[in-house]
């Protein structure tokens, strides 16, 4: 393992029974998980290469219970790792042996839907998709749509400021969140924002969103819900050169069109997805775009006509404009199966960096070179409109040393993203995965200012410690 964990606090480990007894007085028996077998289900998240058994797992049912548990942990000096559904790909919810996991998954109710004001108030353990399902009967939806939306919770989305394929048009979590109920480590419950569009004072809501569970535990959220467009349809464009695909993306945006989704796949990704999904993807191109637009049928026709005309000068080898729901579904099926399909042909790690889109051809070339220099393959599937790359670095676990090579290649790729003006993570978060790379994006003063702000909320660094900031970097307020 190349990512270090801090040495567990022996004093806490030795008081385990006492701590469990204390927690047992605060929550119902079924909400406290102590046996090794049951704790095992919480030893990792989506970053499965790393595993640690927590001291215990607590699954409270109310804001009051969360407050009681946090106050107790603060008094006892016990670390707390917040957890939604555990789908983090950056190790944001990986526990530590001297920490309890505090999961919000039991708090999963819709509290109120207010269609007139276009907001929904939910408990934070609800899944992302369940919010959309709860408002779909009136034609509404909740916009941010991470790939894991079936499983991931809104609590996790808030912690990571999650995005998704549609964020070019609709923004990410922070743009769709109006208020939260949050419990501070000392048990104080604060309300930030509300159902109005903005808040007085410092933008604490904006600060909390994306803070990776280090400032408090969000138990309720008020989110914007939007009326869904009348319809949506994609076009598929295949290009012989990576540069042409990149230039086509730029030309679409320059023409004043903001598609609802603009996805990019390179040759290896196209081949892998086509073999799995039989979506009718072109196998003779270097790069492929999926461009989706929304509106009435006539509006969609008009917009797709414009897009095809814009693509013309870049000599697309394939132009396929979906004419039906079935064709749309096929086009998306390939893209959406990318991670699963890649998993069938190789082990892989999914990187998540962001670059200025003008750097796309250069960065893709360099990514390929980096992977090759480690003797590994790489496939690229990503949101082209916003430059959020997801290189899948492929390796074979059975071969000793390959995973380490893949990690090293991934690190080089993230450094490259920062070098060209981008950032280490566009939507997965820093977690433990990118913690040690923070110093390549931020200098000491930048990081210390962030850590001082963190320290205002959690002076003892008990909330999700050993994540986001370099291990040695702790700074008090």
């Amino acid at each position: 393992m190349s990512i270090a964990f801090p040495t567990p606090d022996e004093a806490v480990l030795s008081r385990r029974n006492e701590i469990l007894a204390g927690l047992g007085r605060l929550v119902a028996p079924e909400a406290l998980i102590v046996t090794e077998d049951e704790r095992r289900a919480f030893e990792t998240d989506g970053l499965t290469a790393y595993r640690q058994l927590p001291l215990a797992v607590v699954l409270p049912s109310s804001t009051e219970e969360v407050a009681a548990v946090l106050r107790f942990c603060r008094d006892q000096g016990v670390k707390v790792v917040p957890r939604g559904a555990g789908t983090s790909l950056s190790g944001g919810a990986i526990p530590q042996p001297d920490a309890i996991v505090l999961g919000v998954a039991k708090m999963n109710r819709v509290l109120e839907v207010d269609f007139e004001n276009r907001v929904a108030r939910v408990q934070s353990g609800i899944t992302n998709l369940a919010i959309s399902q709860a408002v779909a009967h009136e034609g509404f939806f909740y916009a941010p749509d991470p790939s894991s939306q079936l499983a991931c919770t809104i609590a996790g989305n808030i912690a990571m400021n999650s995005g998704g394929a549609h964020c070019l048009k609709y923004g990410v979590t922070t743009n769709n969140l109006l208020g939260v109920t949050m419990v501070l480590l000392d048990g104080t419950v604060v309300e930030l924002g509300g159902r109005h569009l903005d808040s007085p004072g410092y933008d604490l809501l904006g600060l909390v969103c994306g803070s990776e569970g280090q400032l408090g535990i969000v138990t309720e959220a008020t989110v914007r819900i939007l009326r869904a467009a009348e319809g949506a349809r994609p076009a598929l464009l295949g290009f012989e050169r990576v540069e042409d695909a990149g230039a086509c993306v730029a030309a679409i945006i320059a023409a004043g069109i903001i598609p609802v989704a603009l996805e990019y796949m390179d040759r290896p990704a196209i081949r892998i997805c086509e073999a799995f999904a039989h979506a009718g993807y072109p196998l003779d191109v270097e790069a492929m775009l999926i461009v989706e637009v929304e509106g009435s049928d006539a509006e969609i026709d008009d917009m797709l006509r414009r897009i095809v005309a814009i693509a013309e000068p870049f000599r697309p080898k394939t132009v396929k404009v979906s004419q039906s729901e079935a064709e749309s579904a096929a086009i998306w099926k390939g893209r959406k199966s990318a991670f699963g399909a890649t998993g069938r042909v190789a082990d892989y790690i999914c990187m998540d960096g962001t670059i200025p889109t003008g750097q796309l051809p250069h960065v893709l070339k360099r990514i390929d070179e980096i992977a090759k220099s480690y003797g590994l393959g790489v496939a690229n599937v990503f949101h082209a409109g916003d430059g959020n790359l997801h290189p899948l670095v492929m390796f074979d676990t059975a071969k000793p040393g390959e995973m380490e090579k893949a990690e090293a290649a991934g690190e080089d790729i993230l450094r490259l993203c920062v070098e060209v003006g981008g950032c280490l993570t566009g939507e997965h978060g820093v977690g433990i995965e990118k913690r040690d790379l923070m110093t390549c994006q931020f200098n000491a003063a930048d990081l210390e200012q962030q850590m001082r702000v963190r320290g205002v909320f959690d002076p003892g660094w008990l909330l999700n410690p050993a994540k986001v900031f370099p291990l040695e970097g702790r700074v008090a307020a």
């Binding site: 276009r118 933008d203 430059g387």
Partner: protein
């Protein structure tokens, strides 16, 4: 009072570091067009971004623009317009309301989170602000965010800086996400609605799938003069289609006219800049944010207690209220209404003396104030940056 005008970021950092050493209290500004907003603060010197000018990066295909904080807003707006783009949040111009002169800066737009009617669709300035560089109260240069629109690397200090009114740092450079300017703008106008029906009409329009980008209601003393406005933007084909659909949807509220061209632009500018309330310069002006449908009840409560004029922006999400500049300027009635209905109020225009004795911003619960004080101290431990501009001690 002395005026400090740093020539670059490093210069600004040394000025602030020195000020910290000497305990010099600094009044931060751009060109001072909004000097009469917020709580008046007692300072020793003015630190101005007036010389920090120039667009430092503009990539139209990447929808991103960076500029030094003292760059005139008009320069940014014109540069974007040259490429058919715009700041999507449509920043308000406070000059007509405040009667101030000079050029507002892009830095002040970020520092005060200044937005306009497109807020319902595109979000506020804070939603488009993706990167900042600033000097904190320790005299350190700090960066947060960057030039890419998706970025979850570390704590989002960008959001914290947006709307912090210069109490956390002196912005030196800001980066905004931009959007294409629409091919066509068109406005549906319904006359003669009372506040309740108007807000119902706006809610219906905003709840439709037609991407409304502006929704306002301008009441009038004779109800026939009242105007309810719904704006659509986009490609012409699309605007035509949506106008028709919306007209059908809103039929029960009365016949709708269509406004286009200069007249329509002027009316949205007057909504954006609140010039509807500009005429009576002797009046105090409040900006109240509440859940859209609660606007009319909020206004009714306030109007029962003080003589008031008002109008609604963002489908009633924002109510602008003018009150007589005497007594508590309606503060008691307005704050009671926001407490009861949810929301918050800011006193935008009032004499210095009134802004000193009344809460300019909505008072916050003690737990939130404790966090606010902690954050202030973490950026500006000596409390030298715009002291007291937002809250006493902040």
């Amino acid at each position: 009072m002395s005026s400090l005008i740093p020539r670059d970021e490093q210069d600004a950092a040394s000025i602030v570091a020195q000020a910290k050493g000497r305990g010099t209290l600094l009044n931060l500004c751009g060109n001072g067009t909004k000097a009469s907003m917020g709580r008046p603060s007692q300072t020793d010197a003015t630190l101005s971004a007036a010389a920090l000018t120039g667009i430092t990066l503009y990539e139209p295909a990447e929808l991103v623009i960076s500029a030094r904080s003292g760059t005139p807003l008009s320069e940014v707006v014109d540069t974007l317009a040259g490429q058919g783009q715009q700041l999507p949040f449509e920043p308000m111009d406070y000059r007509p309301l405040l009667g101030s002169q000079g050029e507002p800066t892009i830095g002040s737009v970020a520092a005060m989170n200044i937005s306009g009617p497109r807020r319902i669709m595109a979000g506020a300035a804070r939603d488009s602000l993706i990167g900042v560089r600033f000097v904190n109260g320790r005299g350190e240069v700090i960066k947060s965010g960057g030039r890419v629109m998706k970025n979850v690397t570390g704590l989002d200090l960008v959001k914290l800086m947006a709307g912090s009114w210069g109490t956390l740092g002196f912005l030196t450079e800001v980066t905004f996400k931009v959007l294409p300017r629409p091919e066509r703008m068109s406005t549906l106008l319904i006359r003669g609605l009372d506040d309740g029906s108007a807000v119902a009409a706006l809610s219906a329009a905003l709840g439709s799938p037609f991407d409304v980008t502006g929704a306002a209601h301008l009441p009038a003393p004779d109800r026939q003069g009242a105007r309810t406005l719904i704006r659509l933007e986009g490609f012409s084909v699309s605007v035509d289609y949506r106008l028709n659909e919306l007209r059908r949807l809103l039929k029960r509220f009365g016949a709708a006219d269509i406004l286009e061209g200069r007249g329509a632009e002027a009316v949205w500018q007057s909504v954006r800049d609140a010039t509807v309330l500009q005429e009576r310069a002797d009046r105090a002006v409040w900006r109240v944010s509440t859940a859209p449908t609660r606007g009319p009840s909020l206004v009714a409560r306030v109007a029962a207690a003080v003589e008031a004029q008002w109008f609604y922006d963002w489908g009633g999400g924002l109510v602008w209220i003018a009150t007589p500049a005497e007594g508590d300027l309606g503060a008691g009635a307005i704050r009671a209404a926001t407490r009861e209905l949810g929301g918050h109020a800011m006193l935008v225009r009032a004499p210095d003396a009134d802004r000193s004795r009344l809460d300019v911003f909505e008072p916050q619960p003690e737990a939130v104030m404790a966090l606010t004080r902690g954050i202030k101290a973490s950026f500006d431990p000596a409390g030298i940056l715009n002291p007291g501009r937002m809250y006493a001690g902040i």
